[in-house]
């Protein structure tokens, strides 16, 4: 972007020093396993909310989905509503308080361990850990690429060096300071993101003549929708796509439902509920969590859509054309052309913060999944070394894997990584996690069956039916000579709509057909203290 490199360099340096300081604070405060794994279960509600939000919202949520809004309009605001209502309110109030309490009751320090201990199954813990270890590096690789591309263009450094620099900095504070360092740095990054996005919203509405005026101008542009997009259901930037069209299915099934509901079962987010000391903290965190998500996702999508008005007034074209047809370039192109220089610098820092905050939590979760859940608890049956040592090794291994994937994987897969990860989590973990917390009759057999059926149905649908992933993976093409084995509407229905209901049914049927888990164990899982709630 066209800003003064020395000024940006100094800003990035100051930011990196602040991050290093917070990482060091995390290191100083990490004294035992609970500190490293679940931040000692004593995190402040505001810090929790900022950290949760900053992890939740990555660079791709701002630039990728913001660009999607630039191309397809404001229908994606339904995702913002889901993010706030499901991703914050339901997550913190309904899932969070029970997760926290059960986590303490069972002494669990990771998401797979919580589920594994609830169902008394090392297999569940090991398989969940393996699934996270296998799929999350692709997601982390895509976030890493986003962050490195930013450093490449903004600071004029080589892309390969940028990947390494970013990975090493984040690795340093995640490995030494554990989850306390992750959460402290996240909170700083979250605060930066909040200021950056607030400025972006205000400057955009001011530039385009006000809230109503800019919306009306966007509404009046409906006739400018390109013919190829109109053919797949695009009806304008302030109206929903044509019901049942491919664009409608992608918006409703993949984006609004897939990402909107999938977030509940994200291991790197669910573990956060175990980092606070009481339910009161979770309720207090809702206060800042809701507005934070609105200012992140809501602003990115509103501004993304409104960039069309700016480009029409200034260049006589729609945003997609101004970005050369590349959706991912709509937000950068808009910021670069329409915003003042001081803001461009701030926004670049916002994007770096968004990438680093997501990355640090991914590294921590992957490290705990491969080191603690898969290796120590499942393979070695809890008899190998100390949890923290093994987890640190695990973090190092998964960071190397993510960096390698960032170099090796084709760009098509990287772009689909977030959707693949969200879909798998929703199918494999959500029914099992929900049952673990809310249905005492759900037993080990039901949980195992649900997790396996959910994971494999989701993988099957991604590989052979859902066109976007199936054609990018190319496995169906290699085996059957065609991109997808079904045709028509099926190829745009997201795996979450197929695999998650199948996994829910499996959980219910298998649990009811088999013996309940011992009553004593269930009471231990669900018990609450005399001073509780």
């Amino acid at each position: 972007m066209a800003v003064s490199t020395p000024i940006l360099g100094i800003a990035v340096l100051i930011y990196m020093m602040a991050v290093s300081y917070l990482g060091w604070l995390g290191y100083k405060q990490t004294k035992n396993t609970e500190d490293f794994m679940v931040a000692g279960r004593k995190i402040n509600p505001l810090v929790l909310a900022l950290s949760y939000g900053a992890t939740f919202i990555s660079t791709s949520a701002i630039v990728g989905f913001g660009g999607y809004a630039g191309a397809f309009g404001m229908g994606v605001l339904w995702l913002v509503f889901m993010n706030i209502f499901v991703g914050i309110f339901i997550a913190f109030v309904v899932f969070g308080s029970r997760t926290r309490r059960m986590g303490v009751n069972l002494g669990a320090v990771t998401f797979p361990e919580l589920i594994g201990r609830r169902f008394k199954s090392r297999f569940i813990q090991g398989f969940s850990g393996a699934l996270i270890t296998l799929v999350m590096p692709i997601y982390a690789g895509s976030v890493l690429i986003g962050g490195a591309r930013f450093m490449e263009t903004a600071l004029n450094i080589d892309y390969n060096s940028a990947v390494l620099i970013l990975a090493v900095i984040v690795a340093a504070y995640v490995i030494t300071g554990g989850l306390i360092a992750v959460i402290y740095t996240d909170a700083l990054q979250g605060a930066l993101m909040f200021v950056g996005m607030t400025l972006l919203l205000v400057l955009t509405y001011a530039k385009l003549g006000g809230v109503m005026e800019s919306h009306q101008a966007l509404t009046n542009m409906a006739h400018l929708v390109p013919a190829n997009l109109a053919a797949v259901g695009h009806t304008g930037w302030t109206s929903m796509p044509l019901f049942g069209s491919p664009t409608w299915w992608t918006l409703v099934s993949t984006i609004v439902l897939g990402v909107g509901i999938g977030v509940l079962a994200q291991p790197q987010l669910a573990v956060r509920f175990m980092t606070v000391k009481n339910t009161r903290s979770l309720k207090r965190a809702v206060l800042s969590g809701g507005p934070f998500i609105f200012m992140m996702a809501g602003v990115a999508y509103i501004v993304g859509a409104l960039s069309n008005v700016y480009f029409l007034e200034n260049r006589g074209m729609i945003a997609l054309d101004a970005a050369g047809g590349n959706i991912d370039l709509i937000i950068p192109e808009y910021i670069n052309s329409a915003m003042p220089e001081y803001f461009i610098i701030f926004f670049l820092l916002t994007l770096l913060a968004a990438a680093m905050s997501t990355l640090s939590s991914q590294f921590h979760t992957m490290g705990t999944a491969v080191g603690h859940d898969l290796y120590r608890e499942f393979i070695m049956k809890g008899k190998a070394g100390k949890t923290v040592t093994i987890t640190k090794l695990g973090i190092a291994v998964t960071i190397v894997a993510s960096v390698a994937l960032a170099y090796i994987l084709p760009i098509g897969i990287i772009a689909r990584a977030t959707a693949i990860f969200f879909g798998l989590c929703a199918a494999a973990f959500l029914p099992m996690y929900t049952g673990a917390l809310f249905w005492k009759r759900m037993n080990r057999q039901g949980a195992i069956a649900s997790m396996l059926v959910g994971a494999f149905t989701s993988l099957f649908w991604l590989t052979f039916v859902h066109a976007k992933e199936a054609s990018a993976l190319g496995i169906s093409k290699a085996l059957f000579g065609m991109d997808t084995i079904l045709t028509g509407t099926w190829t745009v229905v997201d795996p979450i709509l197929i695999a998650t209901p199948v996994a829910i049914l499996t959980a219910i049927i298998v649990s009811l057909m088999t013996q309940p888990d011992p009553q004593e164990h269930i009471e231990h899982c669900f018990r609450s203290s005399a001073t509780n709630d």
Binding site: M74, F81, G236, V286, G290
Partner: protein, 41 residues
């Protein structure tokens, strides 16, 4: 409404704002819920 003709969009826009405000209200109302020293076991 809000310069947007399609109710499916302006309802989403308003719901985003209302749900964010709802979170603020919820946080304020439940600020002192529960006990400070609960441990969960």
């Amino acid at each position: 409404m809000l310069g947007i003709d399609d109710p499916q969009i302006w309802i989403a826009y308003l719901l985003c704002l209302l749900s964010a405000m709802g979170c603020i209200l919820y946080g304020i109302i439940h600020w002192n819920d529960g006990k400070e020293n609960e441990e969960g076991c």
